[in-house]
C-alpha cells in the first residue's frame, strides 16, 4: 500500500471501549476466617490478572468490590483494570449483612451506569456476583433480593449467586435470581470459579449486537457442586 494511501492514527477518533461493569459482592463474615478468606483473596487477584491478559476485556471490564460482614463496605469502586495496581486484601470478621452488601453493590452499579451515560460510554449489562458462606443476619436481604430480581427481570442485571461451603443458605440465595439458581462452590475452588468468571466476562466483552452470550456450562463443573 502506497504511503499516501495509508490512514494515519491522527485521522481517527479515540473513543472509550464498551464497558462491562462487574460488582463482586463478597461475604467476609467471621465464618470466612482462615483458609476461605485466603482462597477468596487469591481468587480475586487471579480474576483481575486473567482479565488483564485478554486484549479486549482488559479495556472493557471494570470491577468493584463490595464486602459485607457487620456492615457493607465498598473496598474498590469501579475503575479500569489498569488502575487497580493494588487490589484490597480482605479480612474476615463479624456477622453477615448480606442485604446491606447487595444494596450497596446496586448503588455502586447504578452510579457507574450514570457516569457511563454522562460520558457517552457504551456499556454491557452489569454483573452482580454474590458470594456467601452463611445466612443473612439482617432483614434487608428481602428488600435487596426484590430489587435484584426486578432488575434481572427487566434484563438490566446479570446475577450470579454463589454459595460457599455447606452452611450457606441456598434458599436465601435463590431469592436473588429467577433465572440462575445458586451454585455451591466445590470445596474452596475460588480460583477455578474466578478463572471461569473471567472467561465469561471475555465472552461478553466480545459479544455483538443480537448475540445471546452462552456461559461455559462445562467449565462450571470445574468449580461447582452439580
Amino acid at each position: 500500500m502506497s504511503g499516501d494511501l495509508v490512514v494515519q492514527i491522527q485521522d481517527l477518533l479515540e473513543n472509550p471501549t464498551h464497558r462491562v461493569p462487574i460488582a463482586l459482592c463478597l461475604d467476609v463474615s467471621g465464618s470466612m476466617a482462615g483458609e476461605p478468606i485466603q482462597e477468596l483473596n487469591r481468587g480475586v487477584r487471579l480474576f483481575l490478572d486473567s482479565l488483564r491478559e485478554d486484549p479486549i476485556a482488559r479495556f472493557s471490564a471494570e470491577v468493584a468490590i463490595v464486602t459485607f460482614s457487620d456492615s457493607a463496605v465498598l473496598h474498590l469502586d469501579f475503575q479500569s483494570l489498569e488502575r487497580i495496581t493494588d487490589p484490597p486484601v480482605l479480612a474476615a470478621s463479624g456477622q453477615t449483612d448480606l442485604g446491606g452488601g447487595v444494596l450497596l453493590a446496586l448503588r455502586v452499579l447504578h452510579n457507574r451506569k450514570q457516569q457511563y451515560q454522562q460520558a457517552g460510554v457504551d456499556y454491557f449489562q452489569p454483573w452482580l456476583v454474590l458470594m456467601t458462606d452463611g445466612q443473612p443476619t439482617t432483614q434487608e436481604h428481602s428488600r435487596a433480593a426484590e430489587e435484584v430480581r426486578k432488575l434481572e427481570r427487566e434484563g438490566r442485571l446479570v446475577v450470579f449467586p454463589i454459595a460457599i461451603g455447606p452452611n450457606a443458605d441456598m434458599g436465601g440465595l435463590a431469592m436473588f435470581s429467577e433465572k440462575r439458581p445458586p451454585l455451591r462452590l466445590r470445596g474452596l475452588n475460588f480460583r477455578e470459579f474466578f478463572a471461569w468468571l473471567s472467561k465469561s466476562v471475555v465472552r461478553v466483552s466480545q459479544s455483538r449486537p443480537g448475540e445471546k452470550v452462552t456461559l461455559d456450562m462445562e467449565g462450571i463443573k470445574g468449580w461447582a457442586e452439580l
Binding site: M1, S2, V7, L12, L13, R156
Partner: protein, 266 residues
Amino acid sequence: MSSASRSHIWLYAGASVPGVVHEHTGKSCEDAWAVETRPFEAPEVVSVAISDGAGGARFGHLGALLSVKWATRMLVEEFNEFLEAGAFEARLRFIARLRRILLRRARKAGEDLEEFACTLIALGVNRGGQWIVFHVGDGAVVTQVGDELAILSAPKKGEFANQTFFVTDDDCVRHVQLFRYQPGTTWALPQAFALFTDGIENLLINVKNGKVAPVFAKLFDWVRTLPYDVVEKAIYENLRDVLRPRSSTGDDCTLVVVVRMSQERE
C-alpha cells in the same frame, strides 16, 4: 445564465473485512455490502447498502446479503416513489417489502425470520443530486457538505452495547431512520456520503459530541481523484491493517464511500 443545469455523477468504493473475533474463531465475515446502478451505463440512480448480520442469528450473514441486494434494488427501481412518499409511508413500504423477502427465504429454509436478523443502511442518489437514506440499527452515515463533515444518521441502539435493532424485528418500522433530500436546506446537496458498520464506529464518530474523524476528507478525495480499483484496494487494506486492529468490538468492519462529481449540462 443559460439554461444549463447541474448533473451529478456519483462515484463509489467500499470494502468489508472480518473482525478479529471472527478471524480468531474461523468464522466468516457477517457484514455485507452491495451497489446497484440503473441503467448500468451512465446511471440515473446509484444505490449502495451495508448490513451487519446479527451475532446471535444463525443466518445473520445470509440476512445481510439478501438485505443489501434487495435494498439497493428497491432504491434504484423506486427511487422517486421513496423520495416523494410521506415519511411514514416510505419507511413502511421499504421495510415491509424487505421483511417479506427475508420471510420468504426463512420459510423456504424452515427457519424463523429472526434467524436472518441484520442491521441495514441503504443510500440512493440520483443525477439530479437528490438522495435518500434508510437506516435500521447500529452503524452510521457521515456526510460532507462544503468542508464540513457531520453525522447524518447515528447508530440506534438499546441501553446496552450489545443491543440494537434489526430489520427482522416485529416493530422494525418504528426504528427505521429516514433522511432525504430537502431543497433549500444546508443538507440539500452533500458532496459525499460514507456508510459504515459498528465494527469501526468507535474510530470514526463520537455520537455524544458529534465529532467525525478527519479520515473521511481523505477517503472522499481518494474516490474523487484515483481509479476505482486503487481506492477499493486502499479501503480494504486500511480496514484490515489500520482500523480493524483498533476496533473496540472486534466485530466485522465495512466502509462504503459515495462521492458526488458535478458537471454542467445543457
